[in-house]
Symmetry: C2
Amino acid sequence: MATVATRTAPFLSLPPVPRYERLKRLAERFPQLDMSAIQTCIAMLHLSHELTGAYDAHLARHGLSMGRFVVLIRLFSTEEVEDGRGLTPAELAESSCVSRATMTGLLDTLEKDDLISRQDHPEDRRMYTVKLTAKARKLLDGMLPDHYRRISALMAPLSEAERTTLQELMTKVSSGIPALRDP
Amino acid sequence: MATVATRTAPFLSLPPVPRYERLKRLAERFPQLDMSAIQTCIAMLHLSHELTGAYDAHLARHGLSMGRFVVLIRLFSTEEVEDGRGLTPAELAESSCVSRATMTGLLDTLEKDDLISRQDHPEDRRMYTVKLTAKARKLLDGMLPDHYRRISALMAPLSEAERTTLQELMTKVSSGIPALRDP
DNA sequence: CGAATTTAGTTAGGTCCCTTATTGTATGGC
DNA sequence: GCCATACAATAAGGGACCTAACTAAATTCG
């Protein structure tokens, strides 16, 4: 019962035991294990991995990473609404969900690639203002139609109602995250 | 209409324009933009970021990262079902969704921490077999009850029916990923 | 057999992001 | 006015993961 069978065949060339079987065995040993919770959690982590991988691969074809793209699109959509408005590194870090130190690095390479410029802040010499360059506007103008088509295609399998449901369910999961994280 | 108002107040201390407003403006300019698709996609990326962050923070308290934990749990659940069965680096890489090169690095540090051992493969001298050490079994035995409670708590806001729905919706999103990734 | 191909694991080098100091500037109480 | 405090950005160092190039062993096939 503990082993599958006496093995005469090559040691490691047996077909792997399916994940479901292994999980069930663990559930017998650990009564705290909630099988549907684990399965849903693994599915989320898996999708998250696939999604960010696909996103990165797509952006890489334009010389961008997720972090770089978020910075550019944030600046782009801000100047679209408030003409001439730039943002500080701290504002960009917050809206990009990265640390300020990481934002410094992102801005360094974006500036090196002539996609953003740093300009003195008129009122506080600790800060500066970040603005898009003409090159960056051109890059975004060129790539965004295709980009938006791709996001639309990604979500095409879901109806409007399903998108709403998905967002609601994700909000519920989000509310459980502190229970996973906190000491 | 292009600017919000004539600005006399400090340049950057205005409240930021909400994301929804900025998105609407972009949608006017780019007809390909599907607002509900973007919003759902951003929500997924955001949840993914929160979830992996929380997971990492939790595992870090046991000296583990996501990659290290997945390797250990895979070995643990395999030897639970097939006593004495080890896995090759290639099998571990595949089931952990990392490259073989990354697996080499993970195994190096796990071995240094005396959590796994590398043993000669009986039949193929290119490979070796990875096994848990007693120390690793003790670590997992100690941490898994709490770990499973945390996953259970994470998913507690969702009923069984909601978990099933969430998995179905995620499967649909997953089917759209090639459309995002492919050239 | 023995050369060519395939496969397993590793090494080298790079990207992205993190945390933890450090430096320079602003601010508020004495 | 001046000092302690707070805050913005940066530098230094580290972890996780990737791809591409390499080494060694096994397999295929003329």
